[in-house]
């Protein structure tokens, strides 16, 4: 495994694969894909040094659309796959992509532990407050009174999962929120997230045109965060709790120890075998 190459001539479109997305017209995820390729181009990352990892869901199709190494896994398990890859191959830039159901419901435990493990991963969650691929069920971030799903005809009756608050409580070292309708801001946040040494969590408000058409209104509701990014978790927690969930930008960033095994071989298996000899 040679040193990471630099390929200065690549443009964003060179990072797109020739696989056609399955996403519905107008899906916010197109903008995320575009931001990913722009960020990779901006960072001049060699395509073969990038690995995009995902679980299952509309958003999790993203790795196939990026011309890099990728792994499309199973529902909720993107973070463990990415963590194993990064532990084994620290030379790679590992980006994890998924949705709100994948990341916060079935994968909720992995989310907590990925935050506290603080490996050098970038985790993009495309949050549209609905399960799109299974045709419109409530997700952990869905409002309690959303009653359009046949599974929860009276709404969920539960308070929504607060991704940024939970990431902070679990120990994430980089927390940001972007919006699919703000491609330049999203690209900038992605660049910062990838460059951040440690676990970078980026919640992307990514409207679902098919099952949540009312999310078209998001473009009028989002607003830049009125707080400068802080490294103080108490201050960040106060802001995040008071936030309407629509504030965009980098909310919290802190240098914390990055978990990465770095062991040099100093023994052979034959050396180990000697311990058993009588």
């Amino acid at each position: 495994m040679d040193v990471a190459g630099i390929t200065p001539t690549l443009r964003a479109k060179d990072y797109k694969s020739d696989v056609a997305p399955v996403w519905c017209p107008g899906c916010g995820h197109f903008a995320v894909l575009s931001a990913v390729t722009k960020a990779l181009a901006h960072l001049k990352l060699a395509k073969e040094r990038v690995a995009m990892i995902s679980g299952i869901g509309c958003s999790s199709r993203l790795p196939a659309y990026v011309d890099a190494y990728g792994f499309h896994g199973i529902h909720g398990r993107a973070l463990p796959i990415a963590s194993g890859l990064k532990a084994a191959r620290p030379d790679l830039t590992v980006i994890v992509a998924g949705g709100d159901g994948d990341g916060f419901s079935i994968g909720g435990n992995h989310f907590l532990h990925a935050c506290r493990r603080n490996m050098d991963l970038t985790y993009i969650v495309m949050d549209n407050e609905v399960y799109g691929m299974t045709k419109g069920q409530a997700s952990p971030t869905t409002q309690p009174d959303w009653a359009k799903s046949k599974l929860t005809p009276h709404g969920t009756g539960m308070r929504p999962f607060l991704p940024t608050a939970i990431a902070l409580a679990a120990g994430a070292s980089f927390i940001a929120r972007g919006f699919a309708g703000d491609p330049n801001g999203l690209t900038k946040l992605l660049v910062e997230a990838i460059e951040h040494p440690g676990f970078a969590f980026l919640q992307v408000l990514s409207p679902c045109q098919t099952f949540r058409p009312e999310q078209k209104e998001w473009k009028h509701l989002v607003h830049p965060s009125d707080m400068a990014p802080t490294d103080d978790p108490v201050e960040a927690a106060r802001f995040i709790q008071a936030d309407d969930g629509m504030a965009l930008g980098l909310l919290y960033v802190r240098r914390l120890p990055v978990w990465q095994p770095q062991n040099q071989a100093t023994a052979t298996t034959a050396d180990l075998e000697r311990e058993f000899a009588l």
Partner: protein
């Protein structure tokens, strides 16, 4: 037909006591000592589910030939105290030839033990211990028993030093004084030692350590796992040693994470493994399907325990065969292997790693509590497992050069496609759990599904596994067929039947899937009586072999659940009862 006739020298003994009595420590020292005296040995242990305290027993058998099972009943029962012994008296079979050693000052021996008709000797352990500074009954008893078994004092002392290495010099010194005191007080004149030193230094190793060693010998350099009894020692052995080898172990948040982490690391090119036990394997099966579909090599060592659900975590059973074979949804061909003994844990796990890597698939290796948590004095394993007929190195086929037309899942004649590793320009692809075309793009087309299913099956069924699929011993019209850790008692039963004039063969299956059906049928031949032996309630292997049309219709099953270990005598009885019925 007692076990005692089969060992030229040696004995079987159990040391029992309540928690803190030092029964297991005494057993460990005795095992180390018999090894140093030139014997082979096997040390099993029994414990309740308590974390501290409770009952414990160490069971040791030693002799001049490799020891593969505990035998039928115990020559010696060393009772350090009799608290709680009723909880596992059924694990300590005794008979009229047995001898119970007890402290003269101890409580009366429980009736449940005396019913066997065993002889009893009361010995002054406590009095001797009290005469020593910080004297310990277990060490005095150890010295005395060691002398009665004919072990040299220096072997006992060396065994104590090796076993108590982590203790302070003061503790070691007092312990050695107690051992010497017990040794000197014994009447040892009648038992000569009959072992001689081997040419090559033997090993003292547990099954779980052996599995860990097999993993690193096979090239594993990344492990992710979640603690579970009785698999944790595999991980505890590996964690510091992987670091020495330049690898690492990651303690995951759960078993779902473990299996997916090793899929990620293996995707990155590092041979990877996890170890678990039944409930953990249940949690991993979805991930195993992903590894099969994405053709990512991974190995799972499943140290079986009593099931279902949380079952009996500290005791053994062979009841995870069904889930290992059939747990994955869809048509998901993968490898299932089972280690046949402690020494075999090294070879079987190493082989499994090589096969998984070479065939880019999942290998589940079935060990169990009995294998994993027992220790043995063994001959060191050879250089390569099951070498004859095998490729010298089973390795992953890695794409070495940039190829603009690289298609990760392109069908090849043997079904194995070169795998590009991240970092190789021109090899980029997306590992995929959805059905996919040759390039890896998701596909729901019937033709892609058929082609990829066929490729994934063919690479397993078309491979030449060589002679490692089973171990076959002996000749005879009668056949004992078994798998995994039941091999030990089955091999001994077959040997004793042959010694008694009943020609009996034994076949122990190491590779259970893909089943080597033709080779098995050939090995079975025209056997007159066939008994399939396994330690589970529902005859899982027997049913599997029938489902594969790999058994003649006259084959019979001898299956019973754990946690009591299978004994050679009951296997002999099960075969000969059938044999006698055929005669009449």
């Amino acid at each position: 037909m007692t076990e005692r006739s089969t060992l030229a020298g040696g004995a079987t003994l159990a040391i029992t006591g309540s928690g803190g009595s030092g029964a297991v420590t005494a057993g460990l020292i005795l095992l180390a000592a018999v090894g140093r005296a030139g014997y082979y040995g096997l040390l099993g242990r029994s414990a309740g589910p308590q974390i501290r305290g409770g009952e414990s027993a160490a069971m040791l058998r030693f002799g001049t030939q490799p020891i593969e099972c505990m035998g039928d009943c115990f020559d010696l029962l060393v009772g350090l105290d009799w608290e709680n012994v009723a909880r596992f008296a059924d694990e300590l079979p005794l008979d009229r030839n047995s001898l119970i050693l007890t402290d003269a000052q101890a409580e009366p021996i429980p009736e449940i033990l005396l019913r066997s008709g065993a002889q009893v000797r009361s010995l002054p352990w406590k009095a001797l211990a009290d005469a020593q500074t910080e004297g310990r009954v277990n060490m005095v008893a150890l010295g005395m028993v060691g002398a009665m078994l004919g072990l040299p004092l220096d072997a006992l002392e060396a065994g104590a030093r090796a076993t108590l290495g982590g203790k302070s010099a003061r503790v070691l010194s007092h312990s050695l004084d107690c051992v010497r005191s017990g040794y000197a007080a014994a009447d040892a004149s009648s038992v000569p030692s009959s072992a001689s030193a081997p040419a090559v230094a033997r090993w003292n190793i547990s099954g779980n350590e052996a599995a860990g060693l097999g993993a690193v010998r096979g090239g594993v350099r990344f492990v992710a796992a979640y603690p579970i009894t009785p698999a944790s020692e595999v991980l505890e052995w590996l964690a510091p040693r992987l670091e020495l080898l330049g690898g690492s172990l990651l303690q995951a948040e759960d078993e779902l994470a473990s299996i997916n982490m090793i899929i990620g690391s293996s995707f990155g090119g590092v041979p990877s493994l996890t170890a678990t036990s039944g409930p953990g394997l249940s949690l991993m099966v979805e991930g195993l399907g992903l590894a099969v579909a994405s053709e990512t090599p991974v190995v799972v060592v499943n140290v079986q325990r009593g099931g279902p659900s949380t079952g009996i975590p500290t005791k053994s059973e062979q009841s995870d065969l069904n889930i290992a074979l059939h747990g994955l949804h869809g048509d998901a061909p993968h490898l299932v292997l089972a280690a046949l003994g402690i020494r075999d844990c090294v070879d079987t796990v190493e082989w499994a790693v090589g096969l998984a890597e070479h065939l880019q698939t999942v290998a589940i290796v079935l060990s169990d509590q009995m294998l994993g948590q027992s220790r043995a004095i063994i001959d060191p394993p050879g250089d390569r497992p099951f070498g004859a007929g095998q490729r010298p190195h089973l390795q992953r086929l890695i794409a070495q050069e940039a190829d603009p037309d690289h298609r990760r899942y392109r069908p090849t004649p043997d079904g194995v496609s070169p795998m590009a590793l991240p970092g190789l320009a021109g090899g980029m692809y997306t590992g995929e759990g959805l059905e996919h075309g040759p390039g890896g793009a998701p596909s729901s087309r019937a033709i892609d599904h058929a082609e990829q299913l066929e490729k994934r099956l063919r690479k397993l069924t078309g491979f030449d596994y060589g002679p490692g699929w089973a171990e076959i011993r002996g000749e005879g019209d009668h056949l004992l067929l078994t798998w995994g850790s039941s091999a030990g008692p089955v091999f001994e039963a077959a040997q004793r039947l042959r010694d008694a004039g009943i020609p009996t063969r034994a076949i122990a299956l190491r590779l259970l899937a893909p089943l080597q059906r033709e080779a098995l049928l050939e090995a079975i031949g025209s056997a007159g009586s066939i008994l399939v032996v396994e330690q589970n309630q529902t005859a899982q292997c027997f049913a599997y072999l029938h489902s594969q049309r790999a058994l003649p219709t006259h084959a019979r099953s001898f299956a019973r659940p754990g946690p009591l270990p299978l004994r050679p005598a009951e296997i002999m009885r099960a075969l000969t009862e059938r044999h006698e019925r055929q005669e009449t």
